[in-house]
């Protein structure tokens, strides 16, 4: 019997495809968001509001990840932007290979912003890079302020964290002070936003923040 040193990253294949995805997207100057949260926290609703606000100024495309159904893709399609649905058929997260396939089906030439809505799940999607510029996680007030500590990886790896369903906070025991304290201990550098899709609140702030992120990427790629 003999032993060999392997020292190989288990997600090597995923990381190689991620690098290829990123190259394609960077060459086109597309800003890419990996949008993550548990099911039902309002990713698609937020996306609808953001698209409605920005679609006259920029070109947006969306990749929708779900285990089954095209329900979310239909909602995005109704906003009049190109959308590709990925059905993972059971898998709890999107990976780089699935995104590679979706990129082949999208016409990327005029796209400024690509939003990849991951499978609703607070754990697994955080482990897989897919070619994004930023991970954004959404938490809704009805889920409780303890979730960042219970599911730390996603909040730790996110560049921005959105607290959604602010209109419902008065009906819950959500403690905003605790929430921000926990977020700070996990990830002091994340940008934070508060939104209510029902009241269309906080959407303008996210949109102007996104516009500056997109602009910065286009400038950094030109240089």
């Amino acid at each position: 019997m003999s032993e060999i040193k392997v020292v190989t990253n288990i997600l090597q294949t995923n990381d190689e495809i991620t690098a290829k995805n990123k190259k394609i997207l960077d060459e086109k100057g597309i800003y890419v968001i990996n949008l993550m949260s548990s099911p039902g926290s309002g990713k698609t609703s937020l996306l609808e509001r953001i698209i409605a606000k920005l679609k006259n100024d920029i070109n947006i495309a969306v990749i929708e990840g779900d285990i089954y159904t095209t329900k979310d893709a239909q909602r995005i399609e109704a906003q009049g932007v190109p959308v590709i649905q990925i059905n993972t058929g059971g898998a709890c997260h999107l990976d780089a290979e699935m995104i590679k396939g979706a990129l082949n089906s999208l016409s990327l030439d005029k796209v400024d912003l690509l939003v990849i809505e991951n499978v609703g799940n607070l754990v697994c999607p955080a482990e897989f890079e897919i070619g994004e510029d930023i991970k954004i996680s959404v938490l809704s007030t009805t889920e409780g302020n303890d979730k960042p500590l219970k599911y730390p990886l996603m909040f730790e790896k996110s560049g921005a964290i959105i607290l959604n369903k602010l209109d419902l906070i008065e009906f819950t025991d959500f403690d905003k002070k605790e929430f921000y304290k926990d977020i700070k201990s996990l990830n002091a550098n994340a940008d934070t936003f508060e939104t209510s899709c029902v009241k269309n609140q906080g959407i303008d702030e996210i949109c102007s923040w996104l516009m500056s992120k997109m602009k910065n990427k286009k400038i950094s790629i030109k240089n």
């Binding site: 997260h93 697994c124 730790e156």
Partner: protein, 113 residues
């Protein structure tokens, strides 16, 4: 349960490496897993046992070594142990996002004949 996808990747890499080294059978696979990763050793073991059937890894054992999480302070360059909820430099009390180890997911060694 992304542990199944992770184990499927492990098996693929192990078979490639074992074949390269002219092994006909793999007896042991050793992984290094960072303590900040969201991977459960119990789930990895369960997925491993199920997925190695009918492969050259069948009957092999899985060894998982945890890797400690360490960050470096951007001010004083000191390295210090961290966890998910505490990444403050013990000297400067400054939050560090420069994480040196803790997210590892890699195959360290394999043993075979």
């Amino acid at each position: 349960m992304h542990e199944v996808s992770i184990i499927q990747n492990v098996i693929k890499i192990v078979i490639d490496k074992a074949t390269e080294n002219k092994f006909t059978k793999v007896n042991k696979v050793s992984l290094k897993i960072g303590e900040l990763s969201a991977v459960m050793p119990e789930s990895l073991n369960f997925a491993f046992k199920s997925c190695i059937m009918d492969t050259m890894l069948e009957g092999s054992t899985l060894e998982i070594e945890k890797v400690k999480a360490v960050a470096e302070c951007s001010d004083c360059t000191q390295e210090f142990p961290i966890d998910h909820f505490n990444k403050l430099c013990p000297c400067c009390n400054k939050f560090s996002s420069s994480i040196i180890s803790g997210y590892e997911l890699y195959i360290n060694t394999i043993e075979g004949d």
